[in-house]
């Protein structure tokens, strides 16, 4: 019922009256309304309903009609037409009912003429005359037409809509990549510029003012590592990895200490690449570099657990102390044990690392395992401490 709107009885341009009927009552869904005994006019654009006592009509645009069904009359009921309606367009002139939960209306033909009216209605809908009208100065109802149009083009219309959406997405993506390309281009210039300036600073430290130098330094710092080690600068692979190892241990010494002296290799990889910004490293290069750390006696070194998990840890890390802290945690959970997840949560370390800690404690006979349906938990080794 909310699709009806108030309008005048005059016809718009290109609108032709098809048929009329009298004594029509409007239904909102299955519910009878007060709009009774009216005069119904079918044009090639609209349905118009008007009561004799009223000056304005109720209009319903045909583009909203999805399906027409007839409902045979009985002894006590007159024959009806059931009109399934599409969603009303957003901008629509005011109607008698603002909102209705029903998506269909009924027209009750109390004075006959139902079947002939249905015929004419279906013809009018089939003709789609309202689409043919192309006049720039259309009344407000035209807004509804375009809204209704997309809905009523069937499968082809849906396909078209999908295609249009895809094209739009493609365009958006290429736009986004264009931006990235620009950024990369700019960054290249930036790096080049920074290099030339840093060379200049090295060569004649007098020419550039102190202010400029400090400002420039701060720019570089916000970018991450100011002079990343690249394969191009060092010819041989071993040289490259050697310098890379130095760079990694310098850049990550502090972060590794912050997280308790041990960092997963995967995290090292992410951190170093984030610090480098654009000169990204491959996982292999990071691993090779980390393998070299021990050889050059750097502040960090690579440690491989028995399970194959690789971590980077500070050179001075005391394994006994690590076990000791794990045991401390275990002791505070003597009754119900500790799972790798518990330890990870409690100590704020990655799950993988927590598991390694527990297995390490087990190898040192400081922890014992409990395998049950609840999963693997660890307890302090009471076998040794209690008996």
């Amino acid at each position: 019922m909310d699709r009806w709107y108030w309008c005048g009885s005059s016809l718009t341009a290109g609108e032709v009256v098809c048929t009329t009927a009298n004594g029509i009552r409007l239904y909102d869904g299955d519910k009878r309304t007060g709009y009774d005994d009216g005069h119904l006019t079918l044009t090639n654009h609209r349905l118009l309903w008007r009561h004799e006592s009223q000056s304005s009509s109720l209009g319903l645009h045909l583009s909203l009609v999805v399906l027409v069904e007839d409902e045979a009359g009985g002894f006590t009921s007159s024959p009806k037409l059931l009109l399934h309606l599409a969603q009303p367009p957003h901008s629509k002139p005011a109607g008698p009912v603002a909102a209705s939960s029903n998506s269909f209306i009924k027209l009750s033909f109390r004075q006959g003429g139902c079947s002939s009216f249905q015929q004419a209605l279906q013809n009018a809908i089939g003709e789609r005359d309202w689409e043919k009208v192309v006049i720039p100065s259309l009344p407000a109802s035209h807004g509804k037409q375009s809204g209704g149009k997309t809905i009523h083009t069937g499968i082809l219309g849906i396909e078209r809509a999908i295609q249009a959406k895809q094209e739009e997405t493609n365009q958006n993506i290429s736009h986004a990549f264009e931006d990235l390309k620009n950024l990369m281009g700019l960054a290249k210039d930036m790096v080049f510029l920074s290099k030339s300036i840093s060379n200049k600073i090295k060569e004649h430290s007098g020419e550039v003012s102190v202010d400029d130098t400090t400002r420039f330094r701060s720019y570089l710092l916000s970018l991450g590592i100011d002079d990343p080690v690249t394969r191009e600068t060092y010819g041989s692979a071993t040289q490259y990895h050697h310098h890379l190892a130095k760079e990694i241990s310098q850049a990550l010494e502090e972060p590794v200490k912050e997280v308790g002296g041990v960092m997963l290799l995967s995290e090292v990889y992410c951190r170093i690449n984030r610090a480098r910004g654009l000169q990204l490293l491959s996982p292999e290069d990071v691993m090779h570099a980390c393998h070299l750390m021990k050889k050059f006696d750097l502040s960090l070194n690579l440690h491989t657990f028995e399970s194959g998990v690789q971590v980077v840890q500070t050179a001075g890390l005391d394994q006994d102390k690590v076990v000791e802290t794990t045991v401390e945690t275990l002791k505070s959970h003597e009754v119900d044990g500790v799972s790798a997840g518990d330890l990870a949560r409690e100590c704020g370390m990655p799950l993988l690392l927590a598991q390694e800690r527990l297995l390490q404690a087990e190898r040192c006979a400081k922890a014992v395992r409990d395998e049950s349906s609840e999963g693997l938990r660890f307890f302090p080794n009471l076998f040794f401490s209690r008996s």
């Binding site: 014992v368 395992r369 660890f378 080794n381 009471l382 076998f383 209690r386």
Partner: protein, 175 residues
């Protein structure tokens, strides 16, 4: 009979998981053997069947919902057999006698009982020994027949007794 007192390990969940660490495992198996033997003694269990063992309360603690898995039970029983506390009755190792005292120890006990009740040079039936009223206060009262026979055979070997057959009944003469 007094309520069997479970050791602390019995309510320690990791006790029911065989520990991978060799040192820890040895200690754990020690505890298991001690538990099974003392439990068998307290409940007069003389035979253990591997397939039924998992339903025995000694291998299952419902209070903490932990049970030693079948593999674990086998390891424990094998360990018991290695220590002489268990004797397999068949080659497939499905059943065995739980010997919380070795047959010769039993033999010694029975012999000293026989001495104290002046049965030397007398003949008595096996029923008298493990079921009779006169042995009611002895530890071997209610002892499994097969184990009793084993014990008496050790006495026979050392020349302290002589086994006799009376058709379907058996007797022994202490020397």
């Amino acid at each position: 009979m007094a309520e069997f007192e479970w050791p602390w390990q019995y309510s320690f969940p990791p006790f029911f998981t065989l520990q991978p660490n060799a040192d820890v495992r040895r200690t754990q198996l020690d505890s298991w053997c001690a538990l099974v033997v003392s439990w068998g003694k307290s409940n007069s269990v003389s035979q253990i069947d591997v397939t039924e063992a998992s339903s025995l309360p000694v291998f299952k603690n419902n209070a903490i919902s932990r049970a030693l898995p079948v593999d674990g039970i086998k390891v424990v029983l094998d360990e018991l057999a290695k220590r002489g506390n268990l004797e397999w009755t068949d080659k497939t190792r499905r059943r065995g006698y739980l010997l919380w005292r070795s047959p010769s120890e039993w033999g010694q006990q029975i012999y000293s009982w026989a001495q104290s009740t002046s049965r030397i040079n007398n003949v008595c039936t096996l029923y008298e020994i493990n079921q009779g009223d006169e042995s009611a206060d002895q530890e071997f009262h209610g002892l499994d027949g097969d184990i009793l026979l084993k014990a008496l055979k050790t006495l026979e070997v050392t020349g302290k007794a002589e086994l006799m057959d009376f058709g379907d009944n058996q007797g022994i003469k202490f020397l």
